[in-house]
Amino acid sequence: MEKYLDILSILILVSSFALMANKRIKSYINTFRIQAVLISIAAGIMGAQSYAIEKRLDIIIVCVLIVILKVYYIPKMLHKTYADIEYKVGKDFFFNIPVLIFACFALVVFSYYCISDIQGIDKGQLNIQIVNSVSVVMIGILFMISRKKAIGMIVGFLVIENGLFVTTLFATQGMPFIVDMGIFIDMITGIMIMGIMVFRINDKFDSIDINDMKSLKG
Amino acid sequence: MRYIEYFLFQGIVLVMLAPLVNGIIGKIKAFSQKRQGPPFLQLYYDLHKLFKKQIVVSDVSTWIFKVTPMIVFTTALCAGMIVPVVTSFIPENFPGDIIFTIYLLALGRFFMMAGALDTGSTFGGMGSSREALISSLAEPSLLISVITVALISGTTSVSGMMLKMQTENTPLLQPVYVMLFLAILLVILMDTSRIPVDDPSTHLELTMVHEAMILEYSGRNLALMELGAAIKQLLLITLVVNLFLPNQLFIGTTGVALVVISLVMYIIKVIFVAVIIGLIEVSSVKFRFFSVPNIAALSLILSFLGFMQYFILGR
């Protein structure tokens, strides 16, 4: 069982690399969907395991929520937003893709360097999984930094959220149920608010290029 | 009673002797120029004449202008009281302080400078302004010199200082006193409007300092101003004479005869200094005004060197 989780954890990391490599908004929303699918599989495995051993249902419920929200609803909503704004298709990044990929790789190494010797989590699968998922968080931040468009930021934020979720999942088999639920509520509200903001930004600035919003200085 | 005697004596000597110094200097200058020159007593005649003359007062002026001559005269004379000329009568505990003297003279100078501004005349302002500069440049060296002497004698009392100097064996043979003597001599040149700082004998706006200030005075007022200036000059010379050319008979003499002898010696010394001043006047030219600081600096350096000779290098 653990082997599959290891593989999944690696796959999730790789999917964020793939996300980073995407140039267009549409494509990275789709990649995000794939990542969500991977996470839901991991959650499903964990859920089944915990149900089998402890008769706990909470992780399964979480898994279902992930499928509904992250695999279905959020990507759909982002696509819709994107379509509504009718932004012409274009590249959306600051640096070269190879540079970004290399930076992601460096981040993974860095995370490994920093985390691997921390007593208590420096051994076994836990270590690898934590390194992988912390790297996902980091890559998420890097993703936000590297995208100019508002939607890119939202996706980046979602990747961070994914990374966090994976970390909790692997390290502690999920937070207490109520906390997990709360996080979901927060996330969904957050995404909705950001979505509304995107519309407003488009309204006021005639584009969702965040790089244009620089009037508040000093 | 002794005080009154002392004051009377001092006053009479100063008032009587002061104009003579100018006469001597004038004679020296004339002599060097192969002229006969005015008589020794010319200033006495002038004063006599002026006292009788009508006073012209500028209609711009205020009471300052009127009281100034009196204040200049009285402060000079009062300061003169403090600097003993020749006396055995020096009262015990007499508060005759050199700093007091200098700041008393300052009172007169204040009014003289203010009075010069009072008429609104350009010349008055010019003289006043120049006097301001010269006096402030001369003051440091004067004070350093006298205070060095005060340090040596352990008191700032004028008579105390002179008493102490009396015990020194021919001071002018010691480097420290030579320096101080020269420094004060330069100060006298600056303070009493002598060549090379000022030319008392011309009325050219380029050169006037003291004359410019008293330009608007006339009659009695002018006489008082002139007399005050002469007393001040004699006072400074007295200081030099009694500090650096002390007389064994200066103090501790009782009896009229001895006092008269020391008075005669005093007059001789005053004449000696007057001759020196006259010679300096003769042998130099009037400096341009912006060179006055050089003289002041020279004087300051001399006085400071004197101080250092005695206190720092000497020990």
């Binding site: 921390i118 007593q119 937070m175 207490p176 957050g190 508040l216 000093g218 | -």
Partner: protein, 491 residues
């Protein structure tokens, strides 16, 4: 009792939604905020008597001790004052036609959502829920920041929500590690509760705990406005409506510091020394202080300037917590209270100024005292207070902090702080004081206060900060001592 505390704002939101007149909104708003204060005071009394209280439906979900009750008091009192202030503020906006009834309703609903989340964050015992509440604060306040709905406001709101969300996400990572460090110790009910974590602090996994602390510091620090994560703060504070700025600066920052301080006491107890947390906190605090100082000197916008000043004061509090001697912690707590009142007062006043002059630019405001006799005076005095002039309360707490630092023989730190504080004050003086002079420009404003309620509020606050500079009621004083003990774990 404790449930009313967050039931009240929730019901306020609901009633607001149903009522249709502005007057009703105002009344409900004030009423609810008064209820909040009343309830909090009852709870405070309980805490004073019992030391701590725990309540809730499932297990003991909510927990209050001296530390959280003080912050809670700040939230509700500043909230109440802001509520009174809002009456005049919104009426004036409405009169000028800038907003309509619907937007007032929205404003109030969001505001009470904001207050609800803050109250929730402070009362909840579980760290995970606490995190949720803090994230919810961001979400609730996003539209408040962007309330004016112009370009700049939208930009500020966007930056606010993005940066804070990222920050909070990092904090979540910290909480996860915190959780990891506590694995195997407190399974079951008390998992991730402050109380359990603190009680079992010495059994936690030290290295992981430290790692967790880094993320918690950065994460919540972002929300608390610590440099270099402060960047959202000046934008949001300057663009939000003034009463919201007051709440953001006066209350939100404290609420965001709250989990950091809690974690600090856990980490310190675990490590039995404050060196690790101390270095981080003092370092970040100093950076905040320095950043604020540099930014204030040539600031042109008075609300931004006040925002930077908030960064400065949060930095000072952080430094005090970093020193972590009882005296320093006590002073730090005191500083939290003082900064809360003083800064809210200044922001509320700046709202009056903004409404009068219609500009945030310092250079375009003049003869402030003549135009706004009360607000101007309060603003001026407030500036001196915020700069640390006696006899105002900020002075007392700043001085206490400095004393504790010097007592700790940390001279270089102390001197640096004094230097930076001076620089900040110099900055305030050289920029803001222009507003009080008459600059011989044509007046386009009529003199007279526009917001009578607001004036009353700021005057009350001025009285509070003046008195507490020298006197503190015995009860509150003891409460603060208790709170200090809660943090440092003494007696």
């Amino acid at each position: 009792m404790g449930l009313i505390l967050w039931a009240a704002p929730l019901s306020a939101i609901l009633i607001m939604f149903l009522t249709k007149t502005t007057k009703a909104h105002h009344i409900i708003s004030v009423l609810v905020s008064v209820i909040e204060v009343a309830v909090t005071w009852v709870l405070t009394y309980q805490v004073m008597v019992e030391g701590q209280i725990a309540y809730g439906f499932v297990g003991k979900l909510f927990y209050l001790d001296a530390f959280s009750i003080i912050l809670l008091n700040l939230v509700v009192i500043v909230g109440m004052l802001a509520a009174i202030y809002n009456i005049g503020y919104l009426n004036h906006e409405k009169k000028n036609g800038e907003i309509d009834l619907k937007r007032i309703r929205l404003f109030y609903m969001l505001l009470y959502g904001f207050i609800f989340t803050m109250v929730f964050a402070l009362t909840v015992n579980n760290m995970g829920l606490m995190w949720i509440a803090v994230e919810a604060i961001t979400l609730a306040s996003t539209f408040l920041v962007g309330f004016h709905n112009d370009k700049k406001a939208i930009e500020a709101a966007w930056k606010y929500v993005i940066i804070c969300s990222v920050g909070i996400a990092i904090a979540m990572l910290g909480i996860v590690f915190l959780h990891i460090s506590s694995l195997g110790i407190n399974e079951g009910a008390g998992i991730l509760d402050w109380t359990t974590l603190y009680d079992n602090a010495d059994k936690l996994n030290g290295p992981v705990l430290r790692f967790a602390f880094i993320f918690i510091l950065i994460g919540f620090g972002t929300k608390a406005g610590l440099a270099p994560m402060h960047t959202w703060l000046p934008d949001a504070h300057s663009q939000a409506p003034s009463s919201v700025s007051a709440m953001l600066s006066g209350v939100l920052l404290n609420t965001s510091l709250y989990p950091i301080i809690r974690t600090v006491s856990i980490v310190n107890k675990n490590m039995e020394s404050s060196v690790f947390t101390g270095r981080l906190l003092i370092g970040i605090g100093l950076i905040s202080l320095a950043t604020a100082a540099i930014f204030i000197i040539t600031q042109k916008d008075y609300k931004r300037l006040l925002a930077y000043s908030s960064i400065e004061h949060i930095g000072i509090i952080t430094i005090a917590m970093g020193v972590f001697t009882p005296a320093a912690v006590f002073a730090g707590l005191f500083h939290m209270i003082n900064h809360s009142f003083t800064k809210s007062m200044l922001f509320l006043t700046s709202g009056n100024i903004l409404q009068k002059y219609g500009t945030r630019e310092i250079g375009r405001v003049q003869s402030l005292i003549k135009v706004l006799p009360f607000s101007g005076t309060v603003f001026l005095i407030g500036l001196f207070a915020i700069g640390g002039t006696p006899p105002f309360s900020i002075f007392a707490s700043e001085f206490s902090i400095l004393i504790s630092i010097f007592d700790n023989n940390n001279f270089i730190l102390g001197v640096t702080i004094i230097g930076l504080l001076t620089l900040v004050f110099v900055g305030i003086v050289s920029t803001l004081f222009r507003m009080f002079y008459y600059n011989n420009r044509e007046e386009n404003v009529t003199s007279g206060e526009t917001n009578k309620y607001g004036v009353a509020v700021i005057v009350i606050m001025l009285v509070i900060i003046s008195i507490t500079g020298l006197y503190m009621p015995e009860g509150i004083f003891n409460l603060m001592v208790d709170a200090q003990n809660v943090i440092t774990g003494g007696i």
